[in-house]
Symmetry: C2
Subunit: 317 residues, 2 copies
């Protein structure tokens, strides 16, 4: 006769502990891979001054939301087998490089002309405008280097897929395109649809891209991919709505960047368009959409992705 087995209690998911371990991995990889050293058998390394500006902009800063999304999506899909942790770590670092380069360029005098970022002087303040321009350019290229290791740690099919997804998320129909719309819309009245479209490109494309890239480091089913794409779209938009809310409710010290900047620049935001209370309700609604999409994905364990969606909406900075 079999002994009766008590149902195993479900451990509450601890996002802090889950994140800490993965952030350590990402920080160690970024620290080791953004370097002036030439690889063995190659003539040239990178000039030290350029690499210093690149490291300054990437290391020791930021919430690393995009890398965490890559790793969480990979783990959710890889639970069914066929995961590639080496690819996921590289993709996690690559999306952070793209994010970092966009901040460096966005802060420049010809764009937002911001002097404070993550509590430190921005790159062009610290190193000069020309170095900031080149550091951003080099960070974008480095993201694609990270995705194409020359050993056999990442299958070619995965390398090619990740490069394509990242290029599309970062380019003219993604992040750079959204920034161009943002630039062109200062001082203009936008409808909610136009505002959403701008943010879907400017912020949403890379956040959603992070989720989808993480999924493609394993072997997602069509159902899982569809669910994760919808999840990525919802949190991408939620992130920007909350950003707009924080721009009016938080102070510069908490944000690590200049608060009230959007209003000062006469930029359209969700808060200026819908008001604060409706923006907060919209963020809550997008969180629910994200959770529903995870449920529809059919993936067995999406607790990290759920917790990250909650963090996006409930964050204080």
């Amino acid at each position: 006769m079999l002994a009766a087995v008590a149902p195993r209690p479900v451990a509450p998911f601890d996002l802090d502990s889950w994140s800490r371990e993965r952030l350590n991995q990402v920080e160690r990889a970024l620290e080791a891979w953004i370097t002036a050293d030439a690889p063995q058998g190659v003539d040239h390394g990178a000039p030290a001054a350029l690499v210093e500006a690149m490291r300054y902009s990437v290391l020791d800063g930021g919430k690393r939301l995009r890398p965490l999304l890559v790793l969480a999506a990979h783990e959710a899909v890889a639970a069914d087998g066929h995961g590639c942790p080496a690819a996921a770590l590289r993709a996690a670092c690559a999306v952070e490089l793209i994010h970092a380069y966009s901040l460096v360029h966005d802060d420049m005098p010809c764009m937002d002309n911001d002097v404070l970022r993550r509590g430190k002087p921005t790159v062009h303040v610290q190193f000069g405008e020309a170095s900031a321009l080149l550091a951003g350019d080099a960070l974008q290229a480095l993201a694609f280097e990270f995705l194409t290791p020359q050993d056999d740690s990442v299958p070619c099919t995965v390398q090619a897929r990740l490069c394509g997804l990242l290029a599309r998320a970062a380019g003219s129909a993604g992040m750079a395109g959204g920034q161009a719309i943002d630039l062109a819309s200062v001082g203009l009245p936008l409808t909610e649809n136009q505002l959403r479209e701008m943010h879907q490109l400017k912020t949403g494309a890379l956040l959603q891209g992070s989720v989808v890239m993480g999924a493609h480091c394993a072997a997602p089913s069509a159902q899982a991919l569809k669910g994760l794409e919808a999840y990525g779209a919802a949190i991408g938009l939620a992130f920007q709505v909350v950003d707009d809310i924080l721009d009016v409710t938080a102070d510069s010290a908490t944000l690590g960047k200049t608060a009230g900047k959007d209003a000062d620049n006469d930029k359209p935001t969700y808060v200026s368009l819908m008001g604060l209370a409706a923006s907060q309700a919209y963020a809550a609604q997008l969180l629910q959409q994200a959770l529903d999409a995870l449920h529809a994905s059919g993936l067995a364990d999406t607790r990290a992705l759920q917790a990250l969606a909650g963090m996006v909406v409930h964050r204080a900075s």
Copy 2:
């Protein structure tokens, strides 16, 4: 009894005619692929204003040397079989996008502050600084989009290889790194070795990368690859030596950009370091090195590559 066969006369190689056909192909592809249209089944296209600045910087201008090097190297290797013309055309366009983005950013006020390029106002003069910054950023991403088509026209192994080669040629240990050295060396005395190292990164890496990418669109032997790498290194350096010569011997109308700029900016050049006659002799010596490398490659027909090397050294602009 066999009829005596007269040796078939070797047709002289006509670079103009060879180039014309390939340039048409490249122009048509760039024209068709740099577009604001969203691909089928995708929500977002790119904003029209951004795409206009991207097209302005790429279309109807330039010698297209890098695309021609890609196509010539591919043809030389593919003559033994296993070529992929679709990959070669995409790689040809991708290296031109990287070249175009580097010119857009290099012309900006915080870099060379140049107002004339290919006989037209530079991008930041025409569209504003912020748009020039974003157009350059988007062109770099688009290069990697070109290399990762979502149909099955280019094998994943080739896509991954091309992305890796392009990222390394464009990044901190390639073109962007060379520009950083260039920036840091204005007004400083450089030795010939330091000047060579700067140019090997700034100009040489992408020219050599074009040759090597073209080769990898087919299936090069180790001997062929070694020869083509040496050829690419020699013409990469020759290109810059000749650029320095033309900066003092040609006028702005012929160059399509501001002549005498390097001397005005107190930039070190081969001419300022070695004098004009020695620079001309050095260019001739590099041409011979390039031709010797092609001979050593063991490839059967390298006439296009030979002719392109001659064009690099004997060009008037």
